[in-house]
Symmetry: none
Subunit: 123 residues, 4 copies
DNA sequence: GTGGTCTAGACCACG
DNA sequence: GTGGTCTAGACCACC
């Protein structure tokens, strides 16, 4: 299997983002069991310790909960889950607009730039 | 002076982006002299080695050129400078749209999300 | 039923402590029958294996004894039972004072700290 | 060197508590540099990764801050540092009194028990 | 030299 | 079989 990950960010973070996006897209729901550390490690072709670290990270964000001997589960707290979507969206937008501002674009130019970009990519 | 930089990216890259954005915004022009390594180090409050690394990076991208005993200068090659703007813009847009797609948004939702975001921030 | 247990200590130990405290408080007496493994498992909402482990632990401390086909019983040996109280108390006190010493408190400060704490909690 | 650690708690947590207690006792101050990961690893006779984990943990509690290429430092935020002392004390007291209550002791008995215990240990 | 990530592999506690 | 800890050792990025 080819490498799924960029070298610019830690792999464990990229796996965490993968999972967060699955939750956001509704592919994972509150209370769902995540793949076991070992399964996930095979699936994404990394060392189990790396996945372990991802799960620990998700746990500290209260997105997941590990139960000894049972597995790791998406939190039951739907408020947290709802918040993730908005946080992530806001962060991406904030990041994007700030970079465009720093390049000297105005709001209108940013909107136009995006529209043009999306049009080019139409297929 | 407080820390200007995120810990997620190497500082030398963040400085390079700072300089590239100054060029793009027209605050730095072809042939302009960059601050000396030491000056820049003091200005942004980092180790001179870090600035050295930034300048090396800019040279390898052909954005800057160092002249022995004189300093480091923005390239005279205006084509390169013109290209930077478009490359950077395309990269930012590509990055942004991909992330939004991965969250499950459609083109229309992305545009609307951006418009809403920019409206909220109005002041 | 909600989780009764901390994740910091093994659940089987926490259950053992529960039972020891029931004995100490006089809610369980020498020779009393403990709930069956299954009953207890349901009562505290854990896996029967975990309760099994607790009972094994209590047996090895000679606090309980299992009789084949009949169940698990609090030991008849009242000396053992009497000893538990003092052991447990000494351990808790030892543990507490050591931690306070390590924080740099003197004996007097420990006593005062306790008195203040108990006063605050008055209701 | 003999082992400094109990097996009941993770070593990385025990190291964290060691450091927190040094701060509380005033042996470490705001802004002080902690030993490097490798130094500390030798000092307490564990693997550098274990110390790394401790420092990461302290960082997530905002007690320490790691700076790339420079080392790990006690936070400058004296409010956080002041809070640690009180939190830790409250946690120890809470823990202690709850255990004594569960054994069936009254407030007065707890205070007397402590006083007796401290007296026995006088030397 | 400093912290940070990752792998490989072992061992343990829990269910 | 599940997660959790720890070691050993390598490699990288940064200063």
């Amino acid at each position: 299997m080819a490498d799924l990950f960029h070298s610019s960010k830690p792999i464990y973070e990229q796996i965490a983002e993968l999972i967060k996006k699955q939750i956001i897209r509704g592919e994972l729901h509150a209370g769902d069991k995540l793949p076991s550390v070992r399964e996930m490690a095979i699936e994404v072709n990394v060392n189990p310790n790396t996945v372990q670290r991802t799960y620990r990270e998700l746990e500290s964000m209260e997105i997941a909960r590990s139960k000894r001997g049972q597995g790791t589960f998406v939190t039951e707290d739907t408020e947290v889950l709802a918040a993730i979507r908005e946080e992530m969206k806001a962060e991406i937008l904030q990041n994007f607009t700030q970079q465009m501002y720093e390049m000297g674009y105005s709001k209108e130019e940013i909107k136009r730039g995006l529209a043009d970009f999306l049009k080019e990519r139409e297929d």
